[in-house]
């Protein structure tokens, strides 16, 4: 057992999978340059020393290298593709949505695409084009599995599950949760480190996790917002007992865990970083209403960002990003 940041846990998880299976390789920009960064947030730092032939630095060409990862996966390799900021996925969406997600269906089930794609999300003082929460653009693409770890244990366990899964898995990671160090450290971070076992383990894809038990209201969140939601739950104590669920799997959702909680509480708040309109929270809200109408004693509400591009100025960025106060207010609202 050791205590690790998400970055350390991911790095170790990648290394262990590469040791275990010679078909696993990493591909991306600036991921393995000696003297370089190990990816934009140091996840693959120094891995090129251990795996000189399997850490592939690419030119700046997201459509190309992500498409190449799909092609290699199709042939049985298990690529872990790294995009520096998830915003750049727009450039590669054709390869992800039209190829990776569809090749199995289009081939009548003869092709597997065991691709892992890692992409950092979140607003971090970089302005509109390096800040988006891109989860929303992929949950509506059948054929993809999507996870979003909020602590080191999950990050490693989900990564391993993703690498061993035969389908394309997108892992959205949060810049402020990584715990990157040195020249690539972020400011304003949230501690997401956790104990990580020494033994091999996976966190199954498709599962949510109850992070805090409660009886009055269910708060659904993932990544940074999970941490803010937990803080908000403390803020409303002892008057209100909030159950906080780490949604963690965005495709598919774990309706069983979510449903069990709603059964208890009857109230749901969904917390999302990113504009409210057209977010992941919309599908959660609609899906809950369809699946558990009789359990709801209040309409599902969403706490999310304004419908604007991400602003640069920190004062505006902080207003854009939901925080514990706004979540706490929503909890008080729905339970009052």
């Amino acid at each position: 057992m050791k205590h690790q940041s998400i970055v350390e846990a991911l790095r170790e998880g990648i290394a262990e999978e590469m040791e275990r299976d010679p078909d696993v390789f990493c591909i991306g920009e600036d991921i393995g340059v000696p003297g370089g960064f190990g990816g934009a947030f140091t996840v693959t730092l120094d891995l090129e020393k251990r795996f000189p032939d399997r850490i592939l630095d690419t030119p700046i060409s997201e459509l190309g290298f992500i498409g190449a990862a799909v092609g290699a996966a199709m042939m049985g390799m298990r690529p872990i593709a790294d995009v520096q900021y998830s915003d750049f996925l727009f450039l590669a969406m054709d390869q992800i949505a039209n190829n990776a997600a569809k090749l199995r269906y289009m081939s009548g089930g003869t092709i597997k695409v065991p691709l892992v794609l890692r992409a950092p999300v979140g607003a971090t003082g970089r302005g509109s084009q390096h800040a988006q929460n891109m989860e929303r653009f992929f949950i509506g693409v059948p054929g993809l599995k999507i996870v979003a770890p909020s602590n080191a244990y999950d990050a490693k366990g989900l990564l391993k599950a993703a690498v061993r899964d035969d389908d394309p898995v997108l892992i959205f990671e949060h810049k402020l949760l990584y715990g990157s160090k040195g020249a690539r450290a972020e400011s304003g971070t949230t501690n997401a480190s956790s104990d990580v076992p020494d033994e091999d383990y996976v966190v199954p894809l498709g599962t949510a996790s109850v992070r805090r038990e409660g009886s009055d209201v269910t708060v659904l969140a993932w990544l940074l917002m999970l941490h803010e939601s937990l803080a908000a739950a403390s803020l409303v104590e002892p008057g209100i007992s909030a159950e906080v669920i780490d949604v963690r799997s965005l495709a598919p959702f774990d309706w069983q865990t979510i449903g069990a909680s709603i059964e208890k509480t009857g109230r749901v708040i969904i917390v999302e970083e990113g504009p409210k309109t057209g977010g992941v929270g919309a599908e959660l809200a609609a899906g809950i209403m369809e699946r558990f109408p009789d359990k709801l004693i209040a309409p599902v509400t969403r706490v999310a960002s304004a419908d604007i591009p991400v602003p640069f100025s920190p004062v505006l960025e902080n207003l854009y990003r939901p925080d514990r106060q706004r979540i706490a207010a929503a909890i008080r609202d729905i339970t009052s």
């Binding site: 078909d23 390789f25 032939d53 399997r54 592939l56 690419t58 030119p59 060409s61 459509l63 190309g64 290298f65 992500i66 498409g67 190449a68 990862a69 799909v70 092609g71 290699a72 996966a73 199709m74 042939m75 049985g76 390799m77 690529p79 054709d94 390869q95 039209n98 190829n99 090749l103 199995r104 269906y105 289009m106 081939s107 009548g108 089930g109 003869t110 092709i111 597997k112 065991p114 059948p142 054929g143 599995k145 899964d165 035969d166 389908d167 199954p204 894809l205 498709g206 599962t207 799997s249 598919p252 959702f253 774990d254 309706w255 069983q256």
Partner: protein, 336 residues
């Protein structure tokens, strides 16, 4: 770069009669398959849309003749000839075009996504240029696994203006990947003349922008195509890939469905229609004295029978049912 476009093929003694008749038979199969499909389509029996390649058979057949069974091809919205050349049966294809369960992709792919991994053909990618990054990635897998396979990546001249072309060729170049980039320059991308879409007279010149070898070949001379591909494949297997081959050819039919191709220049049509790739080889064979007209007609008849049989099988085969709708999306289902 002046390319000689001759009116006849000199059949040399280098090649066995059976090899040459094999080329002839496959080209005739492509032609008859396409003609039959066109009829089925016009009579309203065949669903969907079709993109046909009458007139371009020499490039499909010449390229694939130079590949091994375990080499792969990627293809486009115009994939029928590629598929036949790579060894798909007209029956599995016809079944697919009729949307039947026994089709090469269980009727889920259709004409634009014809493929059969067991024959070395990835389901055709109908996004122009979309197969090119896949091909680079497949070749990357061969390199990482130290296999001696190659990928022949088919695309039209129109695709060379897509970013996917640029990124894929550059990636393949910097890693010396075993990809033969096969540009079938039929002078039009849909209705748009090649000359309107780039200032470069010969597309093989674009190879220089990536530091790789490019070559323009008479794409209607199946023997020349075969020889150029064989050389390119050898280079690729020696680690001297990729290679960009431009095959000059012409489509004798509309872009899709009922397109009368009024945008094609009349003189140009006259020139190219006079250089039909099947006639060129047939004439060469007959003038060489080794092959009689009767032998060719026998082949034609045999092929016609095979295709009629395929149509009969395909017409009568069962359709998929509701139970098939949601299968083949994932290789590993997560039921939540």
């Amino acid at each position: 770069m002046e390319i000689e476009l001759t009116d006849s093929i000199e059949v040399s003694q280098t090649y066995s009669k059976s090899f040459l008749l094999g080329l002839y038979e496959r080209m005739v199969t492509c032609r008859q398959f396409e003609d039959r499909v066109k009829l089925l389509f016009l009579e309203g029996t065949m669903p969907g849309t079709i993109h046909q390649s009458q007139g371009q058979e020499a490039s499909a057949v010449g390229v694939c003749a130079a590949l091994n069974q375990d080499d792969f091809i990627t293809s486009t919205h115009r994939p029928h000839a590629h598929a036949i050349a790579k060894g798909l049966t007209t029956e599995e294809m016809m079944l697919e075009l009729f949307g039947k369960s026994a089709g090469c992709s269980k009727g889920k792919g259709g004409s634009m996504h014809i493929g059969d991994m067991s024959k070395g053909m990835v389901p055709a990618i109908a996004i122009v240029g979309g197969g090119m990054p896949l091909a680079a990635g497949m070749a990357l897998s061969f390199k990482l696994r130290q296999r001696s396979q190659v990928v022949a990546c088919f695309f039209g001249e129109g695709a060379t203006n897509e970013g996917a072309f640029h990124e894929a060729v550059n990636l393949a170049a910097i890693w010396s990947l075993p990809v033969i980039f096969v540009c079938e320059n039929n002078l039009y991308g849909a209705s748009t003349a090649y000359s309107k879409t780039t200032r470069v007279p010969r597309l093989s010149q674009r190879a220089e922008a990536y530091g790789i070898r490019g070559e323009t070949v008479d794409g209607n001379n199946v023997v020349k195509v075969y020889e150029a591909t064989r050389q390119a494949a050898e280079e690729c297997r020696r680690g001297e890939g990729p290679v960009l081959l431009e095959l000059l050819t012409y489509r004798r039919v509309g872009h899709s469905r009922r397109d009368p191709a009024h945008y094609q220049d009349k003189d140009e049509q006259a020139f190219w229609f006079g250089r039909d790739p099947i006639d060129l080889l047939a004439n060469g064979l007959v003038s060489s004295g080794d092959v009689s007209e009767a032998e060719l007609r026998d082949i034609d008849a045999r092929v016609a029978q095979t295709i009629e049989d395929a149509v009969t099988v395909a017409r009568e085969a069962p359709l998929p049912t509701e139970a098939d709708l949601t299968t083949d999306v994932f290789a590993m289902e997560l039921n939540r």
